[in-house]
């Protein structure tokens, strides 16, 4: 059977996930026998749309590999093909479809990998007695993108502790032990290594980073070892691995007990190991001796990005040196909020991390199952029989791996034990809103700083640091012409050697040349972070990075003689801080001649922001979508004034607004306070017309009541055929049908109970049925239906509009065309009037400039380029006068050429009187957008309606027909006005007015009971109309009705009395008549 490929649009409509089968070859190996591969189905793995590569191939201990799961069916499709697949022609993918919703994985800022960062944090000193607030932190990332952070804390006694994370807890080790445990070394070697940067001859401040204190500290570290009587590597390893002999460092040992309990300490596992047929899993360590445990810890927990212990040793020495330099204040701490020390978590990496962990979990569980099976013995389980092994493994559902990943994408929440060395657990994915195209693509460009920062009160993390925008911060640039000192060179967090500081500049220049040159000796995006020697600056060194997830941007390298080529170099945020990059405006940017510019910006252009709430032409495939809510405008236009990014992002495919003729004047008073007047005729001709598409999904399988699931079908009632004219015989509405509020649009028939159920429209406006999509693939009866409604939303008073400059306003009037001011020469009447007071304090000059520019563009029949910073680019060949004054002059001349006022002003005549308006009016086309805030969704009105059960006060909430709260501040305002009657009306009469019976004898209002009135037949005989039966109330406590009075009070008061009574507090009312009260 050839199944048709599942296409993304089907997933959107059917509200299912776009996923494909994932199978993995799991390898079994007995001793050194042949590897047996078993293909195991791991369930439906979500697929990112149009991704050209599979997620990432994994390498875990079992050497299982992720077989390329079925990739996106859209892959490689050209626009025409995409349209035939019912996608946008410009579909870019990059998101997942989960339950019909489009979700993107957010890019998250992480600390730069494999770079030791010196940090000062108060929380460090709180860790334990003796700790200072200073530490060097490195986030080590393995080749499979999983990471582990290591911290090197400085102790007040001069020593240092290495902190590493295992199973969500931090364990601390004296650094000397780790140093010795890593390699066979001597105290002398460690001492020399630690003091290598320190030169007694040149003393402090002579270009050396270290001070003589370094030597002292090295001694302290070594003394610590001696005190613990640890001299050899084996001893150190034993110390780390052994938990029984060393009570002093119980902190370390707790961790390993955990590990041991699971794997090592168990004799069973040892036996299996001897038999040689236990599949082992990454972190789980099997060892006979403690030193083996220690080695595993060193391998899997400490500086995991390095494989070699020598490299680890060297890096640890480097980190110690950096830490000491931080203590001695010969270098400043690195700023963790600076882009310089950031990288980004990519979607693929996140999925890889998560998938890796889930696979490990699966293997672990499988192992446990196998062990249990062996333990039982009773059964004839044969471990060497692969079929039986597989059978046991199958008990552990492999499909949960894919489900876990899918759930992660659905909720954005990581369900993990280890935390994956990430700062947050939730918020990894967001729904990609398709409000308009700009909003949509912004999801793919936005970088999230992290959930913990969003709630932070301090503004330090929100500063726009200069290096973020490519500027060099003011660093102390006193390069000391010291003696030839050596600079450490790190390549991806591995110490590869040293370079004499006199040579390093040449080396850097050479590396850059190699980067730019086409010969692929080194990667073109390598980051050459050369931090020069300085006193009190950043810790010097040459840091080379080739790892993924770094930011890069292109600049022109002008230090290399260009032989026809552009010499475009990709630089990163780490290196750009220390580079000399100039602006291409021809100036030197105030640079001193001793530091000439080596690089030049290509084009300093920003992207246009805003448009987050704009209603726009959001999609060209509305017909094939089933979004919950989709805003759409009917007659969009392309802006006259546009930026280069507008063209780059092809926003003409999804335009967002209209070029409206805007007059800036205070006309009728209806444009006060950011209100705006729309021309009624313009609106009637289609300006800002739009609609909201809203989809209701009715899934019979999901309807409550699982018992009668199969018996429910879509059908119209046979009994009352004429009852619901909008419903067709199949129980679904007609397309194009108008449906009034509270009118049923869909009916379901239950064959078992023989009952009908209809779905009614909620809301307050009539809607049209736009589209009815049914699920035809399923069974004989329809089970799932999507009904899309169309709410016409043409502009009304109260709708919100905005220009692209943040000049938003609410429509206050649809003013008749004839009453609008008009131009005597052209007869032009504005589409829209805004108040001049909107400008002075907000300083949105750009809007005025847009108006002038667009007017000029209209008259010449051309689009106007409004790309910012254009003037900062050197004008080549034709640019004879690059300094042509201001932009206004250029635009003004355009207008003047066409016989208009230089400043964009025009003489207008009053539309009502026909007389000239006394001042000239600024008028011109401005691109206006309709925002999604519309009165129809917001207005709230109520006279009477539902009340709260308990308090009998009106309920809240617009949806439920509730009232608007007349709150404390509103009450205060009425009190201040002395408006007592109004206050009484609002808070009492219109709220929970209640007449209570109170017994004046006992003062209770809770003990009243209604006495059944005795029938008085005498009266009826007399032929008189029966008098109003007086409701007889009596006090239950006093056993009389004598003292009963009626009192008007808020009902909550009675409720209060009842609540108090429940707490055994009696409330008594003392009644007196008005005269007494006044006295």
């Amino acid at each position: 059977m050839t199944r048709e490929a599942l296409l993304p649009f089907e997933c959107r409509q059917a509200k299912i996930s776009y996923a494909g089968k994932m199978t993995i070859d799991v390898c079994f190996q007995y001793n050194d026998g042949p590897i047996i591969r078993e293909n195991i189905n791991f369930g439906q793995f979500p697929i990112m749309l149009q991704l050209s590569k599979s997620i990432v191939v994994l390498n875990i201990y079992l050497s299982s590999e992720l077989v390329q799961s079925k990739l996106c069916n859209l892959r490689g499709a050209d626009p025409q093909k995409l349209v035939s697949f019912k996608e946008e022609a410009s579909e870019m993918g990059g998101y997942f479809i989960l339950n019909g919703l489009e979700r993107v994985i957010r890019l998250l800022i992480l600390p730069k990998r494999n770079y030791p960062m010196s940090m000062v944090r108060n929380s460090f000193s709180d860790r334990r007695e003796g700790y200072t607030d200073k530490a060097v932190v490195i986030r080590c990332v393995r080749a499979d993108q999983s990471s582990l952070s290591i911290r090197l804390y400085y102790l007040r006694n001069g020593s240092a502790r290495l902190g590493f994370w295992l199973r969500g807890r931090e364990y601390l080790l004296p650094v000397g032990i780790v140093l010795k445990a890593l390699i066979d070394t001597t105290d002398r070697e460690i001492y020399v290594n630690l003091t290598s940067c320190y030169n007694e001859k040149y003393e402090k401040g002579k270009g050396a980073v270290g001070t003589q204190l370094v030597g002292e500290r090295a001694k302290i570290i070594l003394d610590e070892l001696r005190d613990l009587a640890l001299f050899t590597r084996l001893q150190c390893l034993e110390y780390i691995g052994d938990y029984s002999k060393n009570i002093s460092s119980s902190e370390v040992l707790k961790a390993f007990r955990l590990v041991f309990k699971l794997v090592v300490g168990d004799t069973r596992s040892q036996r299996y190991l001897e038999e040689g047929n236990l599949p082992l899993v990454g972190l789980f360590i099997v060892a006979h001796y403690y030193y083996e445990v220690a080695e595993a810890v060193l391998k899997d927990c400490i500086l995991v990005h390095l494989d070699n212990n020598f490299d680890k040793f060297n890096l640890l020495i480097f980190m110690l040196q950096k830490l000491f330099s931080l203590i001695d204040q010969t270098s400043v701490p690195d700023n963790p909020d600076s882009l310089q020390n950031h990288e980004v978590l990519l979607p693929g990496h996140l999925i890889t991390l998560y998938l890796k962990e889930k696979l490990e979990d699966w293997l672990q569980k499988g192992t446990r199952l196998l062990m249990d099976e062996i333990e039982k013995k009773s059964t004839k389980f044969n471990f060497s029989d692969i079929v039986q092994v597989k059978k046991v493994m199958d008990k552990n559902s492999s499909k949960q791996v894919s489900t876990a990943v899918e759930n992660m994408l659905k909720t954005g929440r990581l369900v993990t034990q280890s935390g994956l060395d990430l700062q947050q657990r939730a918020g990894y994915t967001v729904q990609a809103e398709r409000l308009n195209f700009l909003r949509f693509i912004s999801h793919f460009r936005a970088v999230h700083r992290g959930a913990s920062f969003a709630g932070l009160r301090t503004t330090t993390v929100r500063k726009l640091l200069p290096e973020l925008v490519g500027m060099t911060p003011s660093l102390p640039k006193i390069f000391l012409p010291g003696p030839p000192e050596a600079l450490t060179v790190l390549l991806d967090g591995c110490v590869v050697g040293c370079i004499a500081s006199s040579e390093v500049e040449k080396v850097v220049a050479h590396i850059r040349e190699l980067k730019v040159s086409s010969a692929a000796v080194i990667p073109g995006d390598m980051e050459v972070g050369y931090v020069p020697l300085s006193m009190g600056g950043a810790y010097p060194g040459l840091y080379l990075f080739t790892s993924p997830s770094r930011f890069v941007r292109p600049v022109k390298n002008i230090s290399i003689p260009s032989n026809g080529s552009e010499n475009i170099e990709l630089i990163g945020p780490f290196e750009q801080v220390f580079m000399e990059i100039r602006c291409p405006d021809g100036g030197d940017g105030g640079r001193k001649s001793s530091f000439p510019a080596t690089h030049e910006e290509i084009h300093p252009t920003g992207m246009l922001s805003m448009a987050k709430q704009t209603m726009a032409f959001s999609s060209q495939t509305i017909q094939h979508r089933a979004d919950q809510k989709l805003y759409h405008i009917q007659t969009p236009q392309t802006p006259i004034v546009r930026t280069s990014s507008y063209t780059k992002y092809n926003i003409d495919e999804f335009p967002t607004g209209t070029n409206a003729i805007v007059a800036v004047l205070a006309y009728t008073g209806y444009d006060m306070e950011d209100a705006m007047i729309l021309n009624k005729s313009s609106v009637e001709r289609g300006m800002f017309h739009g609609q909201i598409y809203q989809t209701e999904t009715i899934d019979l399988t999901e309807q409550r009541g699982r018992s009668d699931r199969s018996s429910r079908i879509f059908r119209k009632s046979n009994v009352e055929k004429s009852a619901h004219p909008s419903i067709d015989s199949d129980g679904l509405p007609h397309v194009g049908q108008m449906i009034q509020p509270d009118e049923p649009y869909c009916s379901i028939y239950n064959e078992v109970t023989n009952s009908m159920h209809t779905f009614k429209r909620k809301g307050s406006e009539a809607v049209y049925v736009d589209y009815v999509a049914v699920d035809v693939k399923n069974k004989k009866n329809l089970q799932k239906v999507n009904i899309r409604f169309r709410h016409p939303r043409n502009p009304v008073i109260g709708d919100k509009f905005s220009s692209r400059h943040g000049q938003k306003g609410v429509c206050s009037q649809l003013w008749p065309d004839v009453d609008m001011p008009f131009s005597g020469t052209t007869g032009m009447r504005p589409d829209l009037i805004i108040n001049p007071h909107a400008f002075p304090s907000r300083m949105t000059i750009a809007m005025l400039l847009e108006s002038v520019a667009a007017k000029g563009g209209c008259l010449r029949g051309e689009f106007v380029d409004a790309t910012p910073f254009r003037s900062s680019v050197k004008k080549d060949s034709e640019g004879n006068d690059s300094k042509s004054g201001s932009l206004v002059d250029d635009l003004g001349l355009l207008l003047r050429e066409k016989g208009f006022n230089y400043h964009g002003l025009e003489v207008l005549y009053s539309g009502v009187y026909g007389t000239e308006l006394t001042c000239e009016i600024f008028i011109g086309p401005v691109y206006y957008q309709r925002l999604r805030h519309m009165v129809s969704d917001k207005f709230q009105v109520r006279s009477t309606g539902t009340v709260d059960q308990v308090t009998r006060q009106p309920i809240k909430g617009r949806k439920r027909g509730g009232g608007i709260r007349f709150g404390e501040m509103e009450r205060d305002s009425l009190l201040a006005h002395g408006a007592a009657y109004l206050l009484h009306d609002r808070l009492h009469t219109c709220s929970d007015y209640h007449i209570a019976d109170v017994c004046s004898l006992c003062g209770s209002m809770l003990t009243t009971t209604v006495v059944q009135p005795q029938k008085r037949p005498v009266r009826q005989i007399g032929g008189l109309p029966p008098g109003r039966a007086v409701k007889k109330v009596a006090c239950h406590a006093c056993q009389t009705s004598k003292g009963m009075e009626t009192v008007a009070m808020p009902y909550v008061f009675r409720y209060l009395a009842a609540e108090l009574a429940a707490m055994n507090i009696k409330m008594t009312l003392k009644l007196s008549d008005g005269a007494e009260a006044g006295a």
Binding site: Q623, S681, G686, Y768, V818, N901, G911
Partner: protein
Amino acid sequence: MEGASYARMPRVKIRELKDDYAKFELRDTDASIANALRRVMIAEVPTIAIDLVEIEVNSSVLNDEFIAHRLGLIPLTSERAMSMRFSRDCDACDGDGQCEFCSVEFHLRVKCMTDQTLDVSSKDLYSSDHSVVPVDFSDPAATDSSENRGVIIVKLRRGQELRLRAIARKGIGKDHAKWSPAATVTFMYEPEIHINEDLMETLTLEEKREWVDSSPTRVFDIDPVTQQVMVVDSEAYSYDDEVIKKAEAMGKPGLVEIIAKQDSFIFTVESTGAIKASQLVLNAIEILKQKLDAVRLSEDTVEADDQFGELGAHMRGG
């Protein structure tokens, strides 16, 4: 007050007249009359436009309301409009607005059968009344018929169909812009330009040129022979005061004096094609008269006084 007549006899001089464009002078009257005329032309001269659409089949990409809205905006030839009845006052059809006195029926039946995109335009609308048809914008001089397909309503691809019935009714622009017969109606006050010749002569030729060039529109020029500044086209002046400001900046205030004549206006009328521009003006005058008559004929009833106040009293008196 009593007996004094404010009646004047306005004069109209037609400058230019085309089917859809008219330019004329209106003299010896006030801004109130000129503006009233403008307002009536835009908002109160009746035309016929599609007002009710019954859609039978619509499988096009545009939704029903969108198509109905587009149909409404198509200008229909409305010579009949003045004599037609408003549906709301029509006795013949009990207000359902579908009789021959107050409405015109249109039909549209299009289906695309080819692979080529089919443009559905106003030409595809079939009218029940040959005098009320979509306006033909084609240039009679151009013989190429494929060029002019009328106003495009929607484009259909293979298999898509549009079938509908539409009712056109009489209406005015005040109710909906689709009934407005005027694309643009505007008037300007005729400027009166006096150049102070003596002061002008104190300027050098260079300064004169500079001054002349200061106006964005070509109002003034320099006589090549006498080198005197002269007014070329006084109506090109847009009351932008540029020349006056320039004169002040040059230290010669009063170099030129420009007054807007309060009693003469130059009108520009552009029609949508529903009625001819000339007819539009005539109809507007007719309607203006009717409105004044309504005031005059309402006698001295209390309601009339309430409604028209002093104006009513004035009209009755005058």
